[in-house]
Symmetry: C2
Subunit: 106 residues, 2 copies
């Protein structure tokens, strides 16, 4: 693909297909072919999604004969989890009002 630069994690997980790929890889490494069987799209399309996940650092590849075995590398998701978690007080219903109050009156 000759990617223009490192792909943003948030952009990478924006596409449902790519989140599904991560889900599949979570239950074990898989070659491209096998991954593609889980989707209706063509194999090149899956390969392109994998390239984006690669650029985002969310997956890594190793060669095994003519196959490329993909494995998950969820570490970049840590920052996503932390970012989302930082809003936790807003969905902790009972204390939401207080939380917001404290934010506005530090």
């Amino acid at each position: 693909m000759a990617t223009p630069g490192p792909y943003d994690v948030y952009a990478a997980i924006a596409a449902p297909a790519r989140r599904e790929i991560l889900g599949l890889l979570a239950s074990g490494d898989q070659p491209v072919q096998q991954l593609a069987e889980s989707f209706q799209m063509t194999l090149p399309a899956v390969s392109q999604h994998l390239a984006i996940l690669r650029d985002a650092g969310l997956v890594s590849v190793r060669k095994a004969g003519r196959q490329r075995i993909y494995s998950i590398n969820a570490e970049p998701l840590k920052s996503v989890a932390e970012w989302a978690q930082s809003y936790e007080r807003f969905w902790t219903d009972k204390l939401a009002a207080l939380g917001e109050y404290l934010e506005e009156n530090p």
Copy 2:
């Protein structure tokens, strides 16, 4: 905007500008005008981002005179946090190998 449908949360948070808007609203409700001051883009652009955040259920509006006061509604981020957290075992270095093993051999 006559939105074609409810906007996906993951797509909504994919744009840096929209995450920044959420960050700003986290420290207090703000009218559009005031939000726009924090950005280089035009006010209509901010308004469009707000429309997307609205469709994703991430913000809510109330009228105050001719102003629209936006406030954060982070609840949809809960599912994002949970989704990302579900991969936690993959970044818990020491136990990653075990975690993957257990996943493959349930």
